[in-house]
């Protein structure tokens, strides 16, 4: 049964399963490098404007709920923990554990997105969305304050989109795992899906301090 699955999974352009696994893993890492550069453009914009308007950015950042942000960071870290345990389960051939950990990863991811949606809603309610209705209390630099929130929505928005795609990938992996497609000899999609998931977590690891923790010592 094992070798049957192994042969089925070997695509014809490859000579050996090892070559295929190495190619797939390398391919995903290169894709993640493209994602580094994709987010990188927004990090540059952030760095430029924070450098230029540090006071306003600080004031704007302080309107974000740091407790919620920190807890949400923890939630995402939990999801990375369950994800790596899912990969480990696949490595040792524990199908039930793999399924459980994939579901947990999706749940944590879902919680993260739910909290994010709540936070965004708060911003809408507080009139912190850039545009004609924008108003940030305590500063005359309303335009520059909007720059912070433009970046906030752009960066967390693009991040959230990547999370949604990630949850979709988890769903596919879940179905495949349930169907018994993954064995210690072939679990590359789980491995590679995990790489993507951890990467999206790493982006948030940087977004949290950069967006939530500017000039918090004024309190």
């Amino acid at each position: 049964m094992d070798s049957h699955v192994e042969t089925l999974a070997l695509r014809e352009q490859f000579e050996t399963p090892t070559q295929q696994k190495e190619a797939s893993t390398l391919g995903m890492w290169i894709f993640l490098v493209t994602e580094i550069m994709f987010f990188g453009g927004m990090f540059l914009a952030y760095a430029v404007y924070r450098h230029e308007f540090s006071e306003v950015f600080s004031a704007a950042s302080n309107t974000l709920n740091v407790v919620i942000g920190a807890v949400n960071t923890g939630v995402l870290l939990c999801s990375s923990y369950t994800m790596v345990l899912a990969v480990r389960s696949a490595q040792i051939g524990n199908r039930k554990a793999l399924i459980v950990f994939l579901i947990l990863t999706m749940l944590f991811g879902g919680v993260f997105l739910g909290v994010k949606a709540y936070e965004w809603n708060e911003k809408f309610v507080e009139h912190h969305v850039p545009g004609p209705t924008f108003h940030l209390e305590g500063t005359s630099m309303q335009g520059q304050a909007q720059l912070f929130f433009s970046l906030y929505f752009a960066m967390t928005g693009v991040h959230a989109l990547h999370m949604v795609v990630g949850v979709g990938i988890m769903l596919v992996l879940l179905f495949q795992a349930y169907a018994g497609r993954y064995t210690p000899a072939y679990y590359t999609p789980v491995d590679v899906g995990g790489l993507y998931w951890h990467f999206v977590d790493i982006i948030w690891i940087f977004l949290f301090p950069l967006l939530y923790l500017i000039g918090r010592h004024h309190h």
Binding site: G27, L44, L147, A154
Partner: protein, 539 residues
């Protein structure tokens, strides 16, 4: 001598028939041909816009089109030629077709992603076509803000989306090539035995993967700015239009190396084959490809010397820009040294190679002029810059592409193109090109601004020369379209190796079988080992 059995031999072209077998193919050779059709379409579409531009510029008054329309003409010419023709051109057609063959692989690492990348180009192209037909876009291919984000009333978002999607086509091609070269080389095919065309596509792939995502996010931000009015580039709210330019050119400068590096790879192949000599300084040429890819990322600010960028940044970028010329020069020297005491044949591909070496050198040297801060102030946004980049893109890349198409046509189609007509069209292209673009150096130096639809009377003579050249050039480009198609039916049947060249692609049939090689090749010779080839032929 063709037997009936040979004519019924299975090739990648006849192993299956029907639209589905093409639209759902995973064969890199068929995908290369799908791309060939697509980019040829975009080339001639971009050419139509060039024609209209040159017709308008025949006379000093703006009498052919309205000024707003003129803005759309040069924008669409640039967008189509850069994003939908030049960027994909060589890697997606000749690279896709030949990279696996050259390294002895059965296909690329990810054939389905390869097919997806073609669909992405087509879908991106559809968005672009929609923008064009619905009313066009008038921001220039550079989309500078705040005009593109706030003031333009044209289809910026649709065009931006089209380029965004096409960008992913480029990224996936690059990703595929990198993994393929690292992981799928045949036994004995070490890095330094690979043809230089592979090296140049590899270096190009590095740029595609590292640079394209930045223009992707830039377009996303521009689209958000335009549709949601967020203000990220809006000066009234503290936004900095120069930030857009940094983000835009971080990709768009390396992009020009995406466009020219594969062409340089082709020239290495042509110069070697048609001198019957190994490329001089193989390792230098290989490393120079990677050096260009790396250094190309450090110079983007040279497009922004007069934008309001800081003087110190301008100094740094100008200084670094001189460095990137060095590896290109190394290539030119090595090609020349390859020719020295070679057994030179003047087949059409070689004519294109000669054209490239001369014209690319001129384009490259004029790059040094514009990299100089003082000169740049004078020639920025003039026809001098236009001439500079057309010498490289058209005199360089397009010539190399045509050379490569002619060179590999027998392998792709199993037919020879008609050599007489081909030589004539190569000559026509060369003469037409120089007549079109050399006057533009002079125009720019004399002060003719770019993107202007009317001009002072004293510039007319040079503009007339340029337009005359463009019409000759157009004929030169139409001819291959006609005779390549003609050759599919009436061309002489080509054998496996009509040029007597080294390289694994010439060891298999013309056209190749679907799975490339009857048996996985085992490589024992160095690249361009003409001595070994001669010994094998004689012995």
């Amino acid at each position: 001598m063709i037997t009936a059995a040979a004519q019924e031999r299975e090739t990648y072209l006849n192993e299956s028939y029907g639209i589905k077998s093409w639209l759902l193919t995973k064969d890199h050779k068929r995908i290369g041909l799908l791309y060939l059709g697509t980019i040829t379409f975009f080339f001639f579409l971009g050419g139509i816009f060039a024609t209209l531009i040159r017709l308008e510029l025949l006379t000093p008054k703006g009498d052919l089109v309205a000024p707003d329309t003129y803005n759309k003409l040069f924008t669409l010419h640039g967008v189509i030629m850069v994003f939908f023709f030049l960027i994909p051109s060589i890697p997606a057609t000749l690279g896709n077709f030949f990279l696996p063959l050259m390294i002895g692989a059965k296909d690329l690492a990810f054939p389905r992603i390869n097919l997806l990348s073609w669909y992405l180009l087509v879908i991106g192209g559809c968005f672009g076509m929609y923008a064009m037909l619905a009313g066009g876009v008038d921001t220039g291919w550079t989309f500078y803000v705040p005009y593109s984000s706030t003031y333009s009333n044209t289809y910026v978002i649709a065009t931006g989306l089209g380029i965004f999607i096409a960008g992913f086509s480029s990224i996936l091609t690059g990703l595929n090539f990198i993994v393929t070269v690292h992981r799928m080389r045949a036994p004995g095919m070490t890095w330094f035995r690979m043809p230089l065309f592979v090296w140049s596509n590899y270096a190009t792939a590095l740029i595609q993967v590292l640079g394209t995502p930045v223009i992707a996010i830039t377009l996303v931000l521009l689209i958000c700015e335009r549709s949601l009015h967020i203000g990220i580039f809006d000066p009234a709210r503290g936004g900095d239009p120069v930030l857009f330019q940094h983000l835009f050119w971080f990709y768009s400068h390396p992009a020009v190396y995406i466009m020219v590096l594969p062409g340089m790879g082709i020239i290495s192949e042509l110069v070697s084959t048609f001198s019957k000599k190994a490329v001089f300084g193989y390792r230098f040429v290989a490393f120079s490809s990677v050096a260009i890819a790396v250094l190309g990322f450090l110079v983007w600010g040279h497009h922004m010397f007069v934008s309001g960028q800081s003087v110190y940044a301008g100094l740094a970028f100008s200084f670094l820009s001189y460095f990137v010329a060095i590896p290109s020069a190394i290539k030119v020297f090595n090609w020349t040294a390859t020719l020295y005491k070679g057994s030179i044949s003047y087949a059409t591909p070689m004519l294109y190679a000669f054209g490239f070496i001369g014209l690319f050198t001129m384009g490259g040297l004029t790059g040094l002029f514009v990299a100089c801060l003082g000169i740049n102030v004078h020639v920025h946004d003039t026809y001098f810059v236009i001439a500079h980049f057309h010498y490289i893109m058209v005199g360089g890349t397009l010539m190399a592409y045509l050379g490569g198409l002619h060179y590999w046509w027998p392998k792709i189609s199993g037919r020879m193109y008609p050599e007489g007509f081909a030589k004539l069209s190569a000559l026509t292209v060369y003469l037409g090109f120089n007549l079109t673009f050399f006057p533009q150096f002079i125009l720019g130096y004399l002060g003719m601004p770019r993107r202007y639809w009317q001009y002072p009377d004293e510039f007319q003579v040079l503009h007339v020369m340029s337009t005359a050249g463009a019409s000759v050039l157009a004929v030169g480009y139409l001819m291959p379209l006609i005779y390549f198609v003609w050759s599919l039916r009436y061309g002489a049947i080509a054998g496996p190796n009509p040029w007597g060249a080294t390289g694994l692609e010439w060891q298999t049939a013309s056209p190749p079988p679907a799975h490339n090689f009857e048996e996985t090749p085992i490589v024992t010779t160095e690249a361009y080992d003409y001595a070994a080839l001669e010994a094998a032929r004689v012995g």
